[in-house]
């Protein structure tokens, strides 16, 4: 027996006109297969309509926020990692380029070394003369400056450093909050 279009009508819940409806009932009276199909379809529909809606566990949104924060953190770490890799690569390229340059100027090596040594010697001389000049000044100066001044200087210097550290750490915390919140 041909069950079309009745199967389609049943399964896709087609809207029927009067003529089709009459034809449909006519077929159902004679065809037990389509009758069973129609019944099964109705029962499934009823089951689906009456099966209770599933609910997520309470706190779904806060769990979602935590997950988002993790994802964003991961993204940030990835960006940092990329930046560091790029910097490292750039540094390595520069290094390679420099060493190639140096190798290509190998003939000037003795000259370069001589210049470097003479420069170093000049700096050493300068430092020695500076030390010779400053050490008596420092020795006398320390005696001349009152101890309370020195203490006040050290105290204010440490104060400035502490303020700097606190400000920096606060800034980085609020930055993190902006990114993750």
């Amino acid at each position: 027996m041909n069950h079309q279009p009745y199967e389609t009508w049943i399964l896709l819940e087609t809207k029927l006109d009067a003529e089709q409806e009459r034809e449909y009932y006519q077929h159902l009276r004679t065809c037990s297969q389509c009758r069973r199909l129609a019944q099964a379809q109705r029962e499934i529909e009823h089951l689906f309509a009456t099966s209770p809606a599933p609910y997520p566990q309470p706190g779904f949104t806060s769990r979602w926020k935590e997950r988002l924060a993790k994802v964003e953190e991961g993204r940030k770490n990835f960006a940092t990692w990329i930046m560091l890799s790029v910097l490292t690569l750039a540094f390595l390229f520069t290094l390679v380029g420099l060493s190639l340059q140096i190798i290509s100027r190998a003939e000037y090596f003795p000259q370069l070394i001589a210049v470097a040594i003479s420069q170093a010697a000049r700096w050493f001389n300068l430092l020695t003369s500076l030390e010779n000049f400053f050490s008596p000044v420092l020795r006398v100066g320390i005696k001349l400056i009152p101890q309370s001044w020195i203490l006040a200087f050290i105290f204010s210097l440490s104060g400035i450093v502490t303020t700097w550290v606190i400000t920096l750490s606060k800034n980085s915390i609020s930055f993190n909050k902006e990114v993750t919140g």
């Binding site: 399964l11 449909y24 689906f48 099966s51 809606a53 566990q57 988002l68």
Partner: protein, 203 residues
């Protein structure tokens, strides 16, 4: 779509995560429901629903606020579930200990008998959905429980309308055959056959 929700979507597009979390509050139940029917366990559904909202948040710029947010986010969720089923071969029976694990709505306090009937129904729903391929299952879930039109299902699953119709036809036929094989019907869902024979399929 609610006026507030449009506003939240616009704010989310400007990078406001708090505005987006209002949308999570509003649509968590629907998204969880799609994932639960697709994957069959509360744990898998929770994970998929969370991930669907993360994907929606990342793709919020591509969302057209003039269209339904539900349709948009549910299609993200169903596609994610389809991928999960394909990738990990998540089957409805994979986690036996929490199979059909039922989470009751917090407002209701079902009696043990009612809870048993509901669990039984849930098991029957899953047994039927399990007989379908992932795409057919998504089409059925979106149509039955979320009132998606053929057009909306086609857009959500990247199919043509005629492909959707033939998939739904095939899926419903498979389920009806399965239903007839095993008389899983509890008393509550029984409908006399004479009544059916005298009703038009549109009723």
């Amino acid at each position: 779509m609610h006026k507030d929700e449009k506003q939240w979507a616009r704010q989310a597009q400007e990078g406001n995560a708090d505005a987006f979390s209002n949308l999570v509050v509003a649509y968590q139940k629907q998204v969880f429901s799609v994932c639960y029917r697709m994957l069959g366990t509360p744990t898998a559904a929770e994970d998929a629903a969370q991930e669907a909202f993360i994907r929606a948040y990342k793709a919020i710029d591509s969302y057209d606020v003039e269209r339904s947010f539900a349709t948009w986010v549910l299609s993200i969720a169903s596609n994610y579930c389809i991928d999960q089923i394909r990738k990990r071969k998540v089957t409805l029976l994979s986690m036996d200990n929490e199979k059909y694990g039922w989470l009751a709505p917090p407002a209701q306090d079902p009696t043990p008998e009612r809870s048993l009937v509901e669990k039984e129904k849930q098991a029957q729903v899953h047994a039927l959905l399990e007989t379908l391929s992932e795409t057919d299952r998504a089409a059925i879930v979106l149509q039955y429980w979320h009132d998606f039109s053929y057009q909306e299902i086609a857009e959500a699953l990247s199919l043509t309308v005629s492909a959707v119709k033939s998939r739904l036809f095939r899926a419903r036929k498979t389920m009806a055959e399965e239903w007839q094989k095993e008389p899983l019907v509890p008393q509550v869902t029984h409908i006399p056959s004479e009544r059916i024979a005298h009703e038009s399929p549109t009723l």
